[in-house]
Amino acid sequence: MLHFIEFRAMGCGVTIQLQAPEEAAELVASLPEQIAAIEAQLTRFKPDSDLMQFNDQAGEWVQVSQTLYENILAAKQAARITDGLYNPMVLPAMIANGYDRSFEHIGAVSAQSAVEVPGWREIEVKASIRQIRIQVGTAIDLGGIGKGWTAKHIADQLAPIGPCLINFGGDMVATGAPDGYPGWPVAIEDPFTGDAFASIYLKDSSIATSGTDYRRWQGTAGDVYHHIINPNTGKPATTDVVSATVIHPHAPTAEAYAKAVLIQGTENGLSWLSNQWHGCGLTFRQDGAVLSTSNFNQYLQERTTTT
């Protein structure tokens, strides 16, 4: 039996598919509440979340919850493997660029000077007692990997029960394959048209997309802002990439890689990605070109052609 549930969480639409006996219905129905509880710990849009309470104590050693601890460690690891192109310390820069509230509530933004983004190595960890410290005046944002971590967390629970596909607004984790399929069917969306550019089957892997096509807003001077901050400049990344999609066995890594590719631009980003462990992905460029790493071809089983 195929269980199917969809709802909104973490600022996006969530869809979960699970092939399992009927008895799994109760577990599936409980997932929205479980994900809401995780979001309550990780969101920066609620002042009483675990994350924001931690940020408010910058400069002190803070013992954090297991969920927050794992996410911060995952963020630090993501920063390490992207050489800082993904950096969880971008929160002050995001706020300075107008992303100080949930996207749907953002208004016009006045021009701001660039905010320096601290190095990710300033996140100090005492693993034995689960304490973390950041410098005064800095703050962590987990929006870059929180969805991937949560999707993986849910998928790990469901995988022993049956094949599943966890979709957080386009970032997905797939375990196993539904009966009769080589994997879970996923469409690579064309950001220009909204149509499917290509369809692939995803199995025991994850896919993540970073884009400047949706979460963007306008400044009072008519300039356009988006939510992908370049840690080297403290401002929205200047890039020829409209969206970058990465496939990787580890969901948080896929998210981090997608951002790193977007920030670097099409050529440098894909070159960099092709040299990363299990790096595989494609980009939609502003001029309409679509390029990919060569190993992405293994996933293309159908190209949607435009007439």
């Binding site: 219905a25 129905a29 749907e104 996923v186 896919i207 997309t209 092709s274 494609l282 060569s294």
Partner: protein, 168 residues
């Protein structure tokens, strides 16, 4: 006595290791010289008898390849560095595939280039709906119902293809 024997054994072993190491270095050096000589013989262009002789101690000994270097030609100085075997790391060129050329799919301008003022959706429009949980149809009611039960949504029988895109 035992200490003397132990010391002697240690001395012998040290001598053997040292001599083996020296022999290896000398042997590899000789092999490199032979390789260089072979390289000179095969790579040197045979044109009008103008054969560039290697400036090192390696000299062609084969009669039919030995040529006099004309005095008006300055032989190329090729430095042969004898060192540990080179480890060459082959770094492949960026392996990028073009799936679609630019300008082939611009039926509608992306939001990135649009001049339309971009506004986020009105909050009321995206109020979170109640979770939709697909369940099995209710079993047939045995007693006469007061009112017909609301139809339950049917679960999909096939996996529903999901769009991969930037989060929304």
């Amino acid at each position: 006595m035992a200490n003397t024997d132990r010391g002697r054994k240690l001395l012998v072993r040290s001598a053997m290791v040292t001599s083996t190491t020296i022999a290896t270095l000398v042997g590899s050096q000789n092999l490199a010289m032979l390789d260089a000589r072979a390289f000179q013989l095969t790579a040197t262009p045979q044109t009008d008898g103008l054969v560039q002789a290697a400036p090192t101690t390696v000299q062609p000994t084969t009669a039919d390849t030995a040529q006099l270097v004309p005095t008006d030609v300055i032989p190329t100085q090729i430095e042969i560095v004898h060192s540990a075997p080179d480890i060459t790391i082959l770094r492949a060129a960026p392996d990028i595939t073009i799936l679609q050329q630019s300008g082939t799919n611009l039926s509608s301008q992306p939001a990135a280039t649009s001049n339309v003022v971009i506004q986020p959706p009105v909050p009321a429009e995206i109020a979170p709906p109640e979770p939709i949980v697909m369940v099995q149809p209710q079993p047939a009611v045995q007693n006469p119902p007061q009112a017909a039960p609301a139809p339950q949504p049917q679960p999909p029988s096939q996996p529903v293809q999901q769009p991969s895109r930037s989060s929304r």
